[in-house]
Amino acid sequence: MSLWIWLLIACLLAYAWKIVGYFVPAKFLEDPRTSRIAGTMTIGLLASLTVVNAVVSGQGLAADARLGALAVAAIALVLRAPFLVVVIAGAGTAALLRVLGWS
């Protein structure tokens, strides 16, 4: 139940970011620091989310089949595969490694 509450707050704040942009004076847009932080934060968060999903297990680190998925996804991206192919390659690798016995 509490997940619903945070989920709805997240939705509300997402809309708040969007609508605030439409009411902020154009001058603010010219502040390079604002847009730069929005940019670095996007990169930092995505990098962090990738790592968390690849090697974090609860409050510890784990080297399991997800690492294989990470490696194969990186190769697929270097080869310029489309998003859906990258995701399927990641899933397939993790599933295959588990069949082969690497949890």
Binding site: A10, Y22, A38, T42, I43, V52, V55, L77, A94
Partner: protein, 270 residues
């Protein structure tokens, strides 16, 4: 159909289809992360910003609390505020259009609009891509969520591996050049270091703080990793990055508010 003769409308439609399809992966990952069908749908219908949606379920999947998931999603939605400022200056929407347009403000609609030069086309591009992505993204979220529920144990199908691949694919097109790569590396290390010391989900927020500090104190390009990666004509729109060819990959991307799968077919906009 006179409307289909508009390049912006054609670009908007192709982006809608390409992006909408990724709703399948979001829906499937959402339910295997522990959300139910309606929670997955609420994120697509109400939050409607792919990066933030993936962040929310990513934190939940990692055992993080609802508040940490909310925090990560909100921070990742920050750039939509910048897009809102750009679109407000560009389209000058009034009345209800401002409030509806705000909800439709994501990477794809912003790029389709800013990629046009004629004001009428800018308007058409925004609304076509915005409404198109919204409808298809929600439709395919439902399909993915239903399929995901039917799969059973997500690990057996490697769906945790799919999540890893999805986040890397979202990050990839933003790593254009040495500095973004350095920021990504520093934040990845900060995450790993923080994991044993803080509750699940919080390491992601630690990385966000680190990234914000880098942004505050460094002097690189102002639009670093920020501008939409959709390039409506397959050419650069003003403010686009200079590409560092070795790391740039147009072929990655996903979801509303995220880089597209591939550069829009040049013919679609020609």
């Amino acid at each position: 159909m006179k409307l289909l003769a508009s390049p912006a409308v054609r670009v908007g439609i192709s982006i809608s289809i390409a992006t909408g399809l990724y709703g399948i992966s979001f829906g499937a990952l959402a339910v295997t992360s522990g959300l139910n069908f309606w929670q997955a749908m609420a994120l697509s219908l109400l939050l409607f910003s792919g990066g933030s949606q993936f962040a929310f379920i990513g934190v939940v999947a990692g055992g993080g609390s609802g508040i940490a998931a909310m925090g990560a999603a909100t921070l990742l939605g920050m750039r939509n505020g910048i897009y809102g400022m750009q679109l407000n200056a560009l389209l000058r929407p009034t009345g209800w259009r401002k409030y509806v347009g705000a909800q439709l403000t994501i990477d794809e609609s912003t790029a389709t609009s800013t990629g046009q030069t004629d004001p009428a086309e800018q308007r058409r591009g925004f609304w076509t891509a915005g409404i198109g992505v919204y409808v298809l993204w929600n439709l395919f979220t439902a399909v993915g969520a239903l399929a995901g529920s039917a799969l059973g144990d997500p690990k057996q199908w490697g769906l945790d591996g799919a999540a890893v691949a999805a986040f890397l694919a979202l990050l990839w097109p933003r790593l254009k050049g040495r500095e973004p790569i350095a920021i990504a590396a520093v934040c990845a290390v900060a995450t790993v270091v923080a994991v044993p010391f803080v509750p699940p989900g919080v390491p992601i927020l630690v990385a966000a703080v680190v990234a914000a500090l880098v942004g505050w104190f460094s002097h690189g390009r102002r639009d670093e990793g920020l501008e939409p990666d959709v390039e409506p004509y397959g050419t650069h729109h003003p403010g686009a990055h200079h590409e560092a060819a070795s790391t740039h990959n147009d072929a990655a991307g996903a979801g509303p508010g995220m880089p597209p799968p591939e550069r829009t077919d040049p013919e679609a906009g020609a």
